[in-house]
Every structure is written in C-alpha cells, then in structure tokens.
Symmetry: C2
Subunit: 386 residues, 2 copies
C-alpha cells in the first residue's frame, strides 16, 4: 500500500499550507508518518517542519482534515533570578502550577470516542482506554475544537510510574487546554474553570506572584515539593501569551538520574548531562553552606552509583536488567493491543499474566534494557572498554 | 602552495603502501595533513587509515621517507577479574608499570636535533625544547630506527600540570620504545635496560605477577596509588606481543572529573560519561561496604559539583573561566613559538610576562574556556536552558 494514494494530497497540502510536492516528499521521507491499523487516518509529524512541532498530528475526517498540535517544548530556568524577570517582561505577575512527573498526553474526541496521543503523536491504546474512563466525554462533544493536554500520573503507569502523588492507580491531571489547528492555549484561570466544570483533575495552582517576589516564593515551593520528591513547577503568563518556563527540584532530578543510571547504557548521555549540570546551578543560586552542599554532592553521587551497582549485581546473578512497570485495564483486549503497540515501537517487553482485581486486570510488564544488560555482561566477563 | 606539488606522490605512496591516487585524495581531504613552517617536511595522519593509527606521521627525508607510528590506544579493564585472564591467555605472568598522568609524546631524531610529537602528531615547540634538555641525544644517533614514547609529567606543563609526582618542573618518563615504520615495541625488560643505559627517567615497574594473583596484587597497588592521586597502571605482556591494558584509580578519575566539570561546557559529554561509569564497576568489583560506597558517592558528587560551582561564582564576579598553566623554557624564543603554535591550533590563550628564574623563563598561561564562560554567563543572566 502506498500512503500517498490514500489521501488527497492536494487537499491535505492545502489544509497544512504546504505545496503538494512538499507534502508528498515529507510522507516519502517519513517526516510525516501514517498510523497503522484502526488509526490509519492519523498522521504524525515525526520531526518538526516550519512552525509545526514534532508530535503534531493531522487526522483525515472524511473529506476534511483536523490538526492537533504537539505540545510545545517548555524551556527551563537554571536559576530563578533573573530568569523570571527576563522571560516575563512587562507583565506584573506570574501564575505557578505544579509540574507533575508522569507522561504527557493529549486527549481529543475521535469518531465519537476519545483517543489519547503520546508526546510523539502515537495513539497509545492503554492511555486511550484510561482516558475513556477518566474524562467526562461531554467536554469533547460540547467543545469539539479543544484538546486536553495533561499528565498521566500514578503507579499503574507503563512509562513513568510514581507512587508519590497519592494516586491509587492512574489519573490524568489537566495542565493545558488548546485549540485545534493553531494550538492556541486558553488563559490559565479560564482553562482551570472549564476543566473544573467537567470535573477533570488538574495540576495544583500554587498562586499568583509578582515578578519581584516570584523567585523567593517559588524557591520555597520547590523546597517543599523536593521533600516529597515531586518534580517542580511551571511558571506561566496568566494570559498564556508569553511562553511558560519550568523549574525543578533536586530530589526529583536525582530520582531521574537514579532511573537513568540503572539503565546507564540505554539512557542517553544527552539525557544525563543536563540533569547533572542543573544541580550545580541550583546550589550556586541557593548559596548553599558547606553542609548543604555536601548533602547535595552525596545525593548526586548516590543517584549515579547505587543504581549502576544494583544493575551490575543483577547481571552478575545472571538476571536481565529490566524496568518493571504495570498497567491496570478494564477491557482485557487492551492488554493485547498495548503489547502489540509496544512491540511495534520496538520496545522489548515481557507481559506477566493478567490478575483480576475487582473490575480490572492488573498486568506486570518488564521492559528489558538489552543494551545495558549486554554491556554490563560483557564487562563482568572481562571485556575491555575501548 | 599546493601540498601535492611538493612531494613525489608516487614515491610517498609506494612508501606508505597506498595507490598514488589514494594518497592524493587523503591529502586533499586533509586526512593526511602537512605541517607548517620549519616542520613542513612532516605529515600527520589526522585520522586512522587501514592499519595506520591517528597521530602517525611520515617525514620526508631528502628523497626518502620515514614513518613514526602513532601511539596505539590502550583499552581499559573496567574490572581486573576476569579481564586480565581473558586478555592475556596462554602467558604465565604480566608486568605492571605505572600509568602516569601527564601528556603522551614521541621523541625522535630529526636533522641532527630532537623533535617531540604530541599524540595527534603535531610538533610541539615547548615539548621539543624540553626533550632537547631532558634526553641524552646519543640514544637517537646510536639507535636511528627507534622512537621514544613517554609521558611528560610535572607542574610546568601546559596540558596536564600535576604536582603529585615530586617532579620539580617537567620530566619525561619513558614507557615504550618502538621501531620506526611498523611501530613494533621492544619487550619490557629490554626496553627498560636500554632506557637505563642512556639515563632516561622511566615509569615505575611494580613487578611481574602470575595471571591468577595479578588482580589482587594490582588492586593493592591501585589502592596505594589512589591515596597519592596517581593515575593507575598499565598491565603488559612482558614480550609486548599481546596488547597492554590499563586500569586506574578512583581518586585520579575523580580528579579528571573535577577538571572536566570546571569547564563543563567545553569538556565533552563523551569524556565525562565513561569516567562516571568506571566508578560503579570499581565499587562493585571491590564489594564495597556501606561506608566505603558512601565515601565514593560523596567523592564523585563533589568532583562534579564543586568545580562547577567555582566556575559559576567566577562568572558571577565577571571573571573569565580559564585553565591556568605554566611553562618553563631555557630559550626565550620558545615562548613565542609555543604561543604561535597554540594559536594555530585554535586555543584561546593569554600569556603572562616571562619571569627569569635562574637560567630559565617561567611563563604563566591562561587557556580561556570560552564556551563554558559564555554558557554560564548566559544562564546567570537568566537565559533558559532549551
């Protein structure tokens, strides 16, 4: 099957504002990639093209099209002062919301159902089933031009499981509502009210702070969040005209590093390096005394070495290093669909047997980290590091 | 001037065992690069080509040529057991010599003088002047087919200054003697005797150990070297037929990291990452208890954060981050020639005024780390990390 035959290139190109020849080329080069199976009418941008973010999707709807924009990358403040002042000029105050540690999804109505797109623009069968149960469908019929942007959080999470939020299984916390096509966001308070009207869970709003006081206020919030190993905050222009910025806790950063170094040969160096560098800037901004700095150094060192050593020990015991997660589904079919989905994406997984728990099935999944297992095995067998 | 015009391509190609068209192409692509100025007759391999290491040089000598092979990369044992057993099969014992922390040079006779090549195959004017004073020239006239491979070590060192060896200024410690052209090494004891005959300083020989006992013996040596922050050892087949392997101390590794994180945006991520990973394997092999592991974690964390914070503070005080080194020369001309050399290599340097000390001139050199200075400055001014 040739992808190009199936859609009207002229019409699609016109919708995207591209010359038809350019669209054909993007499809051919797989910069725009068509989904498979039941979501064949969805095309995702595997890379950004002029003005359209990676992860954006466009959907063929009969003879028409619909665009769902990718979630824009939020830049990071390495120090709060003077980053807030500099990045929010000419507005009096900022709103501060929690940045939760889960995975980023977009939920939209599709053929009378809900579908959930991952950050990269795939339709995740597990997240889709969960969103069907978690969100009030009326929102999507009553607001057909809006898309829900949220964080999937909790322990029954195949990507970023966390027990720190008091979520029993998995919940979706809304942090953005945006228009289809151009991705324009609702102002923060308007968005919160709308989400509240439909009973959606939302990320916490910590308050509105004047630009001058914001760095010290946020530092206090970050210290409290850090104690609970929560991730951090997003600092927002109330009108959502200026770009939000993020700032995070050392404890959560170190938790990321712990995860990364457990799979040290799978996690990219480009993932680890900025997480290490952040610690230095936060310590410098906080003017840490000798004891605080020592504690931070120890925390960083332990986040790196302990998980690595655990992995080495596992390989010495002839075990395979894996990331063990779990999902909880209502519909047994979702298990097979999710497995097929992960395999299609090239993730090496072992699914345990479903356990019936109330109305749900709990399934344990081992994601095998082959690269780290193999590298570690070769080293403990005496192979040299070239 | 066209490089190719100046040498007889046919003859040079025959010497190198390459088709003439291939040599022309390598010169054109600058895989083989001609030196400038007084060493125009020297060509270095900027990249390896079949069987010839990066850093190898060939030298036009009248109508003839001479080859000086690059120093082969020595692979690293991440754990001593079973790496030694596996990499030295079928020989009863290994010789263990110190791996000193300085910079790697090759010294050869050239037009009745000595020249010193850096690892990459450049002729370093400072190292050349130093070698002229440090080495007995008779070696080179009496052994015209041999090349000295050694480590330049000490505080008056523009690349890797170290005070840990009790060297007053700079000394050259021989660790290898190899034939020109094919780079074949002398057996260890024969090499040590020959170096001794000419009064050369040499790296320390710790002893000969049976394959079975070597891991525990070397572990003991490494623990002692670590206390002095010495770098580590090279484990060698006495006959130098099998490839040597290296193994290093955590303390020296952490010293490297301290240097790297001071210039965190200049030092490559690929430099830092394996140095971090080594710590995990050594701790696992040494079966460290809770207190030893904690100490190692703290040492690692401090090696990362303290130098970064120092750099951030310097930038906050509007200073430029620099690596401050010094050289000590006999001939005042060497100062200008070394400065021109560094500038030609693109190093951003500030030379202090020469101070006369006995017969020598001492010159302080600041190597500016522009990338780290600029990155840090932009962050402390509130720019976001994208």
């Amino acid at each position: 099957m040739n992808n190009e035959d199936e859609i009207d290139i002229e019409k699609a190109a016109e919708f995207l504002g591209l010359p038809p020849s350019r669209l054909s080329e993007l499809l051919k080069k797989r910069t725009i990639v068509r989904n498979w199976g039941e979501y064949e009418d969805i095309f995702r941008f595997d890379n950004h093209i002029s003005g359209i973010e990676t992860g954006s999707v466009f959907i063929k709807k009969g003879n028409d099209f619909e665009m769902i924009r990718g979630f824009p990358k939020i830049k990071r403040a390495m120090t709060l002062f003077p980053a807030i002042e500099r990045n929010f000029p000419d507005i009096g105050s900022v709103l501060v919301e929690e940045k939760m540690n889960g995975y980023n999804v977009r939920v939209t109505g599709h053929k009378g159902e809900l579908i959930t797109l991952t950050r990269s623009g795939h339709v995740c069968p597990y997240s889709t089933e969960r969103a069907q149960h978690l969100l009030n469908h009326d929102f999507f019929t009553e607001n057909p031009d809006l898309v829900i942007y949220g964080e999937m959080v909790g322990p029954d999470n195949p990507y970023v499981p966390k027990d720190i939020y008091g979520v029993k299984s998995l919940d979706l916390f809304v942090f953005d509502i945006r228009s289809k096509f151009d991705g324009a966001p609702l102002p923060v308070i308007e968005r919160r009210e709308l989400a509240s009207d439909y009973g959606f869970s939302q990320v916490e709003l910590f308050g509105e702070f004047g630009i001058e006081e914001a760095p010290s206020k946020i530092t206090r919030i970050i210290r409290e969040l850090g104690k609970k190993e929560h991730e951090g905050v997003i600092i927002k222009d109330p009108e959502m005209v200026l770009q939000p910025i993020k700032y995070t806790c050392s404890e959560s950063n170190c938790a990321d590093l712990r995860h990364a170094f457990r799979f040290y040969n799978d996690s990219g160096r480009d993932y680890m390096f900025p997480r290490i560098v952040r610690e230095g800037f936060q310590s410098a901004e906080w003017n840490e005394n000798e004891e605080e700095l020592r504690k931070r150094c120890l925390r960083l060192g332990e986040s790196i070495l302990r998980p690595m050593i655990r992995s080495i020990r596992e390989v010495q015991r002839d075990e395979r290093i894996s990331d063990d997660v779990r999902i909880r589904v209502r519909n047994r079919d979702t298990i097979d669909r999710f497995r097929a989905y992960l395999e299609r994406l090239g993730v090496d997984v072992i699914f345990g047997p479903p356990e019936k728990i109330g109305e749900d099935y709990l399934v344990r999944i081992s994601k095998l980290n082959k690269s780290t297992t193999d590298k570690t095995k070769s080293i403990v067998e005496g192979q040299l590091w070239s």
